[in-house]
Amino acid sequence: MTNGDRIPPDPEFVQLLDPDGERVEHPDYSVEFTPDEYRGLYRDLVIIRKLDAEATALQRQGELGIWASLLGQEAAQVGAGRALRPQDMAFPTYREHGILHCRGIDPIMPLGLFRGVDQGAWDSQKHKVHMYTIVIGAQTLHATGYAMGITMDGKVGTEDGEAVIAFFGDGATAQGDVNESFVWASVFNAPVVFFCQNNQYAISEPLERQTRVPLFKRASGFGFPGIRVDGNDVLATYAVTKQALDNARLGQGPTMVEAYTYRMGAHTTSDDPTRYRAGSEVEAWRDKDPIKRMRIFLTKAGIADDDFFTQVDDDAAKQAVELRERVLALPDPGPLSIFDNVYPGGSPLLDEQRAQQERYLASFEGGH
């Protein structure tokens, strides 16, 4: 086996804001944001990058077990996250910290998970975000089943209907269950958006080891539309995702969105990408940075000035410091918590083990 040539960016690539911060017109997609909304998107991008960097630093200092950085993928996540309406349900991977931010989930929640003090259990019904799914691709089927469920509940088919979004990466497209979810969503006309962040790598393995056709083109073989968007362009990602979600909520079935982006950092803090990719490639993508282009655009359009950017940076820095302090203050879980939530009402064997553990802990001087 040999590696193929890198797949070049496809011309079918929806872009509304180019890497130089120029607004680009597209025949099918546009956005109409107020200045406040534009500034809000910028703020989202900066804050999630800063909090992500703080989490990486905490891991490096031994305060988190592991961290999967979203660095480089901020626009894809903010674009998709802000396109969701309150009633929509999201099924994330373990890297969707930006989606959590957009859904109002306290950033302490994923950090608690990766610090190992709890299972990161935010209220998935309140925030309409399922738990982080670690086993690759499994959530696409969960999303499909959820989408079939809300259809049966009569919550689909109107302008205020519900829609579902499943996040996954380029690597996951090789999994059987992802392809099976495409089949099911298609034949059951499920209101689900398959949002693939193509960040070019499945840990060490480049895109050409995942696919020989552009990923969004896979959708047509399953019988639903696929579209590729510049995943480093928050405006285009928002517009494309919103359209796909609206189609789903109206009962028009699934769409695959391929957000073409780049994982600027390691797969996780356990990974060292210098073993398998060239620094020059990373540098080339740095020029396509999602935050830089928004800043240029906002400045040129007179929507924001340096005072605003400084204020956002300061706010982000302040939130990062607060987050760090809160992470360090998280209490360790109690030893008997290992028996919680295994079964809803306990079980005879488990109850016995709990009692045994209690006796064991009590056998030490001063108890536990």
């Binding site: 690597g171 840990i203 393995e205």
Partner: protein, 326 residues
Amino acid sequence: MAELITYREAVAEGIAREMRRDPDVVCLGEDIGAAGGVFKTTVGLFDEFGAGRVWDTPISEQAIVGAAMGAAMTGMRPVAEIMFSDFLACCWDYLANEIPKVRYMTGGQVTVPLVVRTANGGGLGFGAQHSQSVENWALTVPGLKIVAPSTPADVVGLMASAIRSDDPVVFFEHKGLFASKGAPAPPDHVIPLGKAAVRRSGADVTVVALAATVPLALTAAEELARDGIDVEVIDLRCLIPLDMSTVLESVAKTSRLVVVEENPYQGGWGGTVVSVVAEEGFESLDAPIKRVAAANVPLPFADALEEKVIPTVDKLVAAVRTTVAY
């Protein structure tokens, strides 16, 4: 004294030896090539044997194991890696329904001489879906062989037998042992499957262990020796074939048995071991058998909690003391 090598180096060494010996041996899995494996257990293989024999694959456990079966049917000896043993569940049809039944259902005409290697076990704080000891899953499937080495030399010697086996083998490498060191394997080191090792000879109580619970048992034995309790530690090495004669001989000598296993108590392999002793060695016993196993709960992410769930030296020491005091 010869230079020590790590368990993780022994994995690559064991595979490399067989790849040098037999051109039909190939490797496949995620990130095993240029990246050298996420646990660095395939370092050097890609450089030595090239992309023709070390295949970086897309992320699909089903495809890795299913394709290994197909390749094995052509006479190759694939060594497939499933990164975390928890993900054996993603390819369970192949491991439970297809691979172990090929020989049987073809009337012995077709064999699938493949190895599925996988990083197993906890102790590193990887959470509920990356820390499980799942050797007991495979134990439920007749037709599979199960290897779980505890030392670097055993990794090499058992890898040789696993790859040379004409039957499918699930090879559990323990994540908690990757950094551990031991004597390197001598040249042409081959350990037959199904032969347990007596790691420490003792007169008072038999402790049966596997993989990471072997060093744990040896540590416990040292602690108990200070109180005059003489522990015999048996390293099973394999669950299928299961060397019960070594266990029964030991119990005949010590009259006491404690099993220490990292999989959950419910359905754990210790249940199989003790049931054989109950059936065939009951009259040797002077005390009830004890099992030290993981609690019947998912593994917590928190280091401090994980210790509560899986076996520890303290838990084993307490169990042995109870047995001896009976």
